[in-house]
């Protein structure tokens, strides 16, 4: 016969079982609520003109901001991904317990958690002040600053998963270390390296704070990164401060487009990782 204490424990166990399930339900309900709002309100004012019109056109669109975000992220990726990957290669392939590796790994971890607004301010001090103008270059540099530690750490993790026997085989066949890295180690980790890079891209595509004082935003169609540069996130922020309902619905549509972009990147990452198996 179960003692009183035993039945009490069993009762509280059932309660906690229910509580844990409720926690999951609450979180999923919140997610559905938020995405539901974004979808319903965003789709409401979304039409094809949104992608091809400029803010001053009628009806207004976000063509310049969408292009701006794509250019900014592409510039950031062009700078940040090679540097990040090379640093990851250093950590995984050249490290050999050197004095440099431990602090680099540590700093990369810590940099990945720096608030993005601080990165934006650094971009202002290092790029905008010397250049004398807000510019797309400064914005892209700030985004690259965020990408580098992320890419470096994922690259290191992914390269470490490549079996050491591959490297030994390559060296035994007379390859140099650089040859081994470029033709054996990296090709066998391509899929996961692409994943890491794409996730870093998805992460910076949604950043606003680092661009506030670097790219600043623009209502015109700008392709020259030497000038103040438009971005989807900056435009959404700007619109959210305007009182008219039209601006507000534009902002919702912008968010929807932004999330769709990020979602597309994430989905293609899933595709990449799945195909490898």
């Amino acid at each position: 016969m179960p003692s009183l204490q035993n039945s009490r424990a069993r009762f509280s166990s059932q309660i906690m079982h229910g509580v844990c399930t409720a926690c999951a339900v609450v979180i999923i309900a919140t997610l559905i609520l938020i995405t539901g709002y974004l979808l319903i309100i965003g789709l409401h004012s979304l039409n094809w003109r949104f992608f091809f019109n400029l803010p001053q056109d009628n009806p207004p669109g976000m063509r310049n901001s969408i292009e701006g975000t794509i250019i900014l992220v592409a510039l950031a990726a062009a700078g940040g991904i090679p540097i990040g990957m090379l640093a990851g290669i250093y950590l995984s392939e050249y490290e050999a317990n050197s004095v440099l590796a431990a602090p680099v790994r540590f700093v990369a971890d810590v940099l990945a958690g720096v608030p993005s607004i601080v990165v934006g301010i650094l971009g202002y001090e290092l790029m905008v002040v010397p250049m004398g103008t807000y510019s797309g270059w400064a914005g892209a540099a700030a985004l690259a600053f965020i990408m580098i530690p992320l890419v470096a750490r994922t690259t290191e993790e992914m390269l470490r998963l490549v079996p050491g026997s591959y490297r030994e085989a390559s060296i035994a066949l007379g390859a140099t270390k650089a040859g081994t890295i470029m033709r054996v180690v990296i090709p066998s980790a391509t899929g996961s390296l692409v994943t890491g890079a794409m996730l870093a891209i998805a992460r910076v595509a949604g950043e606003t704070a680092p661009l506030l004082f670097t790219a600043v935003g623009s209502a015109r169609l700008v392709h020259d990164p030497g000038r103040p540069f438009p971005s989807l996130t900056l435009r959404i922020y700007e619109l959210s401060n305007e009182p008219s309902p039209e601006s507000r619905s534009q902002a919702w549509s912008g968010i929807l487009v932004l999330i769709a972009l990020i979602f597309a990147v994430n989905l293609s990452v899933r595709y990449f990782t799945r195909r490898r198996k």
Partner: protein, 377 residues
């Protein structure tokens, strides 16, 4: 056999043996690794250099002063009765002198602490519960879609949360107390803040939540929805997926023998879960710290939900500012004023050091201090 391994043949590899390839890759890799060190050095040195005017002027007082006054404060000339003297001709009050601008970080720091605390109080139990659900309750078929949803929630940019908080959550919190329908279907109680206020008004000792003192008079705080409470809530929603995902991975790594052992000893489901939580407590604490670091450094969502008014407030129904939102909100105005900019830079430096500290602590707790094996040559 892995196709990449099959591709290793002597001819291909021989091509890597150019005179310049070897040192070039090494130098590029080392340079990039050094670049990462340089980035942190640049952050610290640039912010410190720009903060010097403020550090010189205010010193340690910056950390304990609540005053944030970018403009000079006119001090009126008073007569012997303590009343302001008026100019005989114009009838205007006579200004005795101007107090110079003054900056203190305490209001922003306390705003960061308040919003992060609200966020954690909300997010930690929910996340741990959901992580336990994923590891111990959910059917195997349900785990991937739920995990995907949670990771999707983590990938939504902060400006989306900001917009949602500004136009949906804020009005819902601060509006009149009544029932509202979500998507025209599910009824939910709206006007949380006025309901909360109604409760606090009648509970002795909680008056400070609904009243504030302005010029010595007690005034009811209007419920606007654009305040510390809403900002904390939105931060809580934002950190839930982060803590959940990390906690899930940590709980999954609890050795099966540990769980089997507790069950074999006759533990109930919850007692065995509790042992799991206890077993991985340092990792879970690290997950919470990572969530805290995210909440404390978040800019856009806070800026959009409550703006940036760096005043010290006790009540969560007041608008305030966090360090990050003060930076984002005021930096454009400060560009030409060295002292103002210096104060903001010092604030940024404090924010940076705080996030570094959080991340260092979390890194040791989550990753552990384990030495990783090198790639093996």
């Amino acid at each position: 056999m892995n196709p990449a391994a099959a591709e290793i043949d002597a001819k291909m590899i021989g091509r890597g043996r150019s005179a310049y390839g070897e040192p070039a890759l090494y130098l590029a890799a080392t340079g990039s690794a050094l670049m990462i060190l340089l980035m942190l050095a640049a952050l610290l040195s640039v912010l410190f250099a720009a903060a010097v005017p403020s550090i010189r002027r205010f010193g340690g007082e910056f950390l304990v002063s609540t005053e944030w006054r970018p403009n000079p404060l006119p001090v009126l000339k008073l007569n012997s009765h303590g009343k302001p003297i008026r100019d005989a001709r114009t009838g205007m009050k006579v200004v005795d002198h101007n107090e110079p601008p003054k900056f203190g970080a305490l209001a922003s720091i306390s705003g960061t602490v308040q919003t992060s605390a609200i966020a954690l109080v909300l997010a930690v139990p929910l996340s741990l519960g959901a992580a336990l659900y994923l590891v111990r309750i959910a059917r195997p078929l349900l785990v991937p879609p739920i995990s995907f949803l949670i990771e999707f929630l983590a990938a939504i940019p902060s400006i989306a949360y900001g917009l949602w908080g500004m136009f949906v959550l804020g009005p819902w919190m601060g509006g009149p107390a009544r029932w509202e329908r979500i998507f025209g279907m599910i009824p939910v109680p709206a006007g949380i803040e006025s309901r909360l206020g109604a409760v606090c008004r009648h509970v002795p000792g909680l008056q400070w939540v609904v009243e504030r003192r302005i010029d010595g008079k007690l005034v009811h705080i209007p419920t606007t929805g654009r305040d510390v409470l809403t900002a904390g809530l939105i931060l809580g929603i934002m950190v839930v997926p982060i803590i959940t995902a990390i906690a899930r991975d940590i709980l999954r790594n609890v050795p099966l023998a540990q769980i089997e052992g507790t069950i074999a000893l006759g533990a109930t489901w919850w007692q065995s879960c509790y042992e799991m939580l206890k077993f991985s407590r340092s990792g879970l604490f690290g997950a919470v710290i990572l969530g805290l670091a995210r909440a404390a450094g978040e800019t856009m969502a806070v800026l959009m939900v409550m703006g940036s008014t760096p005043t010290l407030t006790a009540s969560p129904l007041n608008a305030g500012a966090t360090m990050a939102s003060t930076l984002a909100g005021e930096f454009p105005e400060a560009a030409t004023n060295d002292l103002y900019r210096g104060a903001l830079m010092e604030l940024a430096l404090i924010l940076l050091l705080m996030s570094l500290a959080f991340n260092i602590v979390a890194r040791y707790l989550v990753v552990g201090n384990a030495v990783r094996p090198s790639a093996g040559y």
